[in-house]
Symmetry: C2
Subunit: 347 residues, 2 copies
């Protein structure tokens, strides 16, 4: 285990800076004294784009590459045309650094609001593919802007790309008590991509006889997310289905304010990037209203990835305790929540 962490921080837009500050506060509080934490902040996002037209210059990408990990707040602003920052910055990082594991745990913590009646027991993790599928930016349009326009989007899927994420998901499932892995796709309609996923899912499965497997179409999966979420343990799925399912998962487990994610390159060839699932929420930016918990839980994923498992577990426990202890109805500022969690992890 490295006894120093060299972190890149991308606060980004809207509430990004506020929540990242709390993430760093808790990170500092939880780390043992002898671990040297260095961090460098990168000014990327809407403001930079407005000022210079740049989303992610090559030099910056190269520089980011040298860090141990990246902590990102949120990217996106209504003043920037849809897609520019998402594709030019967020997705560019995921693709450039081969973040083929987009890890999104979903857990219903005690004393949190869920829209589901009867509070089911929810504790699953979605392993979303991060570098292929409909996210590759393939596609285009012809006769753009005319009544004869044709626009395409191409989902690209490779055995190479599917196998590495499926294998990772089996490893994660095998390491969990319930050892269950569900593949979600739509192989009755998207037959080419769907059959590739299913073939590899079944083939790799023979190496993990201890893991119980299951297949669901994405439409059916959304039903179970609200009627029987306790049936899920680990889910592996494509980039777009994973995007949709994890927002739904966040909603049923107490909201997007608690949903953490890791964009992981398990080989270590590139730095992995950790970010809350929520966006930049410009409507509440600068008001100290944003819940930093999702970012703080993303810091836990970051620590776990860098080999600080005990510290990651302390953050998770602190979040559970903090949620259990808070008085429902009483709202706290971004800073208050960060302070409370920093206090608990250093205590």
């Amino acid at each position: 285990m490295s006894r120093s962490i060299d972190l890149a921080v991308i606060p980004g837009d809207g509430i990004g800076g506020e929540v990242v500050a709390q993430g760093l506060k808790v990170l500092t509080a939880v780390l043992p004294q002898d671990v040297k934490l260095e961090s460098r902040s990168y000014d990327l996002g809407a403001k930079r784009w407005h000022a210079t037209g740049e989303t992610l210059p090559d030099g910056e990408l190269e520089s980011l590459r040298g860090h141990d990990a990246i902590l990102l707040g949120a990217i996106g602003d209504p003043s920037v045309p849809s897609g520019v920052l998402e594709r030019g910055l967020l997705l560019k990082l995921r693709f450039a650094f081969e973040h083929y594991i987009n890890l999104r745990p979903s857990k219903l913590f005690p004393n949190t609001a869920t829209p589901l009646a009867g509070r089911p027991d929810i504790d699953f993790v979605v392993v979303r593919e991060g570098t292929e599928g409909p996210y590759t930016g393939n596609g285009g349009s012809l006769r753009t802007g005319t009544p004869a326009e044709v626009a395409t989007e191409v989902s690209l899927n490779t055995a190479y790309g599917v196998e590495r994420v499926v294998r990772d998901a089996y490893e994660r499932a095998a390491a969990r008590p319930r050892k269950k892995l569900t593949l979600v796709h739509k192989n009755n309609v998207l037959v080419h991509a769907g059959h590739l996923w299913k073939r590899i899912f079944d083939a790799v499965g023979t190496e993990y006889p201890q893991v119980t497997t299951d297949y669901l179409h994405v439409d059916a999966a959304t039903i179970f997310f609200v009627t029987q979420p306790e049936r899920f343990d680990v889910i592996v799925t494509d980039n777009l289905f994973g995007d949709i399912l994890t927002d739904l998962a966040a909603a049923v487990t107490g909201g997007i304010g608690l949903a953490a994610s890791g964009n992981i390159n398990p080989t270590g060839a590139f730095p992995s990037m950790f970010e809350p699932v929520h966006g930049s929420a410009p409507d509440i930016a600068g008001q100290g209203k944003a819940d930093p918990t999702a970012t703080i839980l993303s810091v836990a994923l970051l620590l776990d990835h860098l080999g600080y498992g005990a510290e990651a577990a302390r953050i998770e426990a602190a979040v559970a305790e903090d949620l259990a202890a808070r008085s429902p109805g009483k709202s706290r500022t971004t800073d208050e929540i960060g302070d409370a969690l920093a206090g608990r992890v250093s205590g």
Copy 2:
């Protein structure tokens, strides 16, 4: 209004035949004496495929074309490779008959179970595009079955196809009390298709100043489906997003047993097709356990489409009364539910 209905019936697989029988029972009961109902049943689905290898022969397609409308039960069986019947029969019909409106109303009826706490007021309709997007069967695979496989799925979108469904959705929104239309897409990632949809959505919107509009990414839409479903009135969306969202909508409004759908060609150039959203449920087939309500509500959509608005409304009212009157916990057979509804509409 034509005083005769010439109906094609495709019972299909699993519970398809059982639920369709109840749909026809209620249809017969609700129609005025002077309306002549003729129907012809088509033997299509898994059994036919096993026996002959055929999914939908040209002759049958031609013959179906001559009917006023089609009532379909359910298609699909685990004994048939995934995709064969879906693409060879169900989607073939939707595409051949230009069913560009896939209409899926979602309503939370009284006295029905919803997984959502607090029983929000849900009454919206999804206008799902039915003939384009990732459903066109474009795509393929290279080096299939090898570790070097590449598989693609191509989403095809045309101004022609998008405009006709968007216009229809505005018409439907304008005719409803709340007059609100939400476009759901993912235009920050699927920029070519997304921008085409948004451009046409905005352009057609200028012709409907009385309709309030709204845009949501598909991932965010799933959140609102469970946290604030009452915010939706009419939703227009692409084929795949509509598939996913309407299963989720069915789940939050009391389950797939109540979700009806119409595959509509509003021009009348081809017969429209009505079917429950649920599948063939082979696990409960032949046991009289299937809830025929979704099929019966699909018959209401069929009647409405053919100009029998009053009869359609009577079926809807009968379903609401029937659900309100039933004793929770007491399960009824497929036949009992059909009889109860036939009794109410003819009473």
